[in-house]
Symmetry: C2
Subunit: 346 residues, 2 copies
């Protein structure tokens, strides 16, 4: 299999290297062959080529079986009004790969419950899979700007809503068979289209229960009854906000992975944490989110379910027994955690 | 003073009646005269007149010194695709009164910390005032719909951002002198206009510290460091989501008030809870949010600061010593809580 790595900025290279080491160990253990090809994206790409997503990077990603990304951005490129910005590379990549379904699983490991801002009793059975629409909505709509006015258009087509909703229902079938669709149908026209389309798709999945929630209520319910939700599907911007809110429950952003999938085989895998410039280059970043993203890559792009489960079990073992990085209350470095995960795989 | 009441639907009439009783007690105690005039809004207005905001209601609100609202909506009118819906009355009223700044204070009463989903140590010093822009953005932008496409336009002008930002800075001056402005400037054009405008307004308030946060980060920070924030200003939809998320921290929605202010004197005051159809008509709704909204009315529309503080102290006393309604772990009814608040005022 052909895997493109896009380490990016800040701690991106450190955590990506750890995830690659885990994939190498899986290849050795199960006798697979993974070929890695590294490319530029984000701030480092701007510095080297003037563009956040150089054509060589994009072409390689399109030809790959899967793409493993670290993080983009940092203080050097942080002016949101600059004409060229690191995040543009990420958004362009998502669009070009057509990865419309962003999967963000959330579980709270019992050994880390003390790190969560939520009370322990709220954390029982928290196991949510967010499916965020990733290539539509206000992120990619028309924008205008004059000296005294700005606009963003949020646009959705029925086809865009259908495909991400189908993916959510398919995933729910393999889980607890419950989909919660989140919108703001009492105010937004796109949300009314969203809701009626989801309702129609649900009829194809009579074995899965569907519930609608308004985004403001959902922001509250994620805190008051987080254990109640199975698969949560929503549009791009609502998903951005709700998945970060939910991520806070896990105790550290460094723990959480994501997978972005489309119709093509080449999925995009990245930890949900950012480039964390304050700790970049020190060898202390938590590699867990990146390693679990590699597990999702094994599962969703390479069809290697057993291998994915092996990596996840190894990570769970290390979360339970340590070593732990600083963000989760330990003092170990990236390398020590990686070595413990590698040892648990063998 | 001339106060229009809009009890609305569900528990709206019960909690509005309690708030009016408190205002009557304040009038008697301080020798003021308040004149109340009741009008229709929401589902009950649709049933009676076919319209969610009849002209008679709107005219009365425009002529009033202040408007006290209960709640709108309920299962009878809950189809988001129906041509006439209760929420339209509320949105039309906000627009017609020009109440562009929605103030939502959040404090967590120590006696109720056990009800919060957040760990106790996170709740120390939580005292946030959200200032949500209320008459712009995607709520009021152009909408289109065809058989297979829908759009919502989010639009902001510099003038709209300036006025709500100034209000936020003025309020911060009376508090801990810290403003956090929330946007999504790495993706949205309206957020870039928002950020640069806020930055410019901040120069008028050199004694107030300004910080920018992205909305996704803020959704997380509200859980991990809620005690850090003083005044949080943001656009309409982000404010809708973040204030509901924050409200979960207080333990019950029934506790929280809001004030919506514009240039005109007539502010709009309402508890942040909804119509709660499941408990409507049973005399068990928590009147606290409505009573604290009446306190905000005294302060912001009538300029009666001492009277407002008296009501707030009475409510704090009842929260500490009871009686408590069911939503906050007690078994008292609306009337018992009201009587305790009235007794604490005298
Ligand atoms: C970096 C930013 C553009 C991005 C987004 O908003 O989608 C990030 O927050 C994410 O959630 O992946
Ligand atoms: C009822 C609804 C239209 C309203 C809003 O979204 O503004 C409510 O959620 C609120 O926050 O006051």
């Amino acid at each position: 299999a052909n895997i493109v790595t896009l380490p990016g900025d800040g701690v991106g290279p450190e955590v990506t290297a750890a995830a690659v080491a885990v994939l190498d160990a899986v290849a050795a253990h199960y006798d697979h062959h993974f070929h890695f090809e590294e490319h530029l994206i984000g701030g480092c790409a701007i510095d080297a080529t003037g563009e956040p997503l150089p054509a060589a990077s994009l072409d390689a990603c399109k030809a790959a079986d899967a793409v493993l990304l670290g993080a983009v951005g940092g203080p050097k490129w942080s002016d949101p009004s600059a004409p060229v910005r690191p995040e543009q590379g990420l958004l362009a990549l998502r669009a070009a790969l057509g990865v419309y379904a962003n999967l963000r699983p959330l579980q709270v490991h019992p050994a880390l419950a003390a790190l969560s801002p939520l009370k322990n009793e709220k954390l029982h059975n928290v196991d949510v899979l967010f499916v965020r629409e990733l290539t539509g909505g206000a992120y990619f709509g028309a924008k205008t700007r004059t000296i005294d006015t700005a606009t963003d258009e949020c646009k959705y087509t029925v086809a865009e809503v259908e495909r991400v909703t189908r993916r959510a229902f398919q995933l729910a079938r393999e889980r607890r068979k419950h989909v919660t669709s989140v919108d703001k149908a009492n105010v937004l026209e796109t949300s009314r289209l969203w809701r009626s389309t989801v309702q129609r798709v649900a009829a194809e999945f009579p074995d899965v229960k569907l519930e609608h929630q308004l985004v403001d209520s959902m922001a509250m319910l994620l805190l008051t009854q987080p254990g109640k939700y199975d698969v949560v599907v929503t549009e791009n911007l609502f998903g951005d906000i709700l998945t970060d809110e939910a991520a806070a429950l896990a105790g550290s952003l460094g723990l959480l992975p994501s997978a972005s999938l489309g119709e093509a085989k080449a999925g995009l895998y990245e930890p949900i944490h950012g480039s964390a410039p304050d700790i970049a280059g020190q060898g202390v970043a938590n590699p867990t989110g990146a390693i679990l993203s590699a597990a999702m890559l094994l599962r969703h792009s390479l069809g290697l379910e057993q291998e994915a489960a092996t990596v996840e079990a190894a990570v769970a073992d290390v979360l339970e027994h340590g070593p732990h990085t600083r963000d989760i209350g330990g003092s170990a470095g990236t390398q020590a955690v990686l070595e413990a995960v590698l040892a648990a795989i063998d």
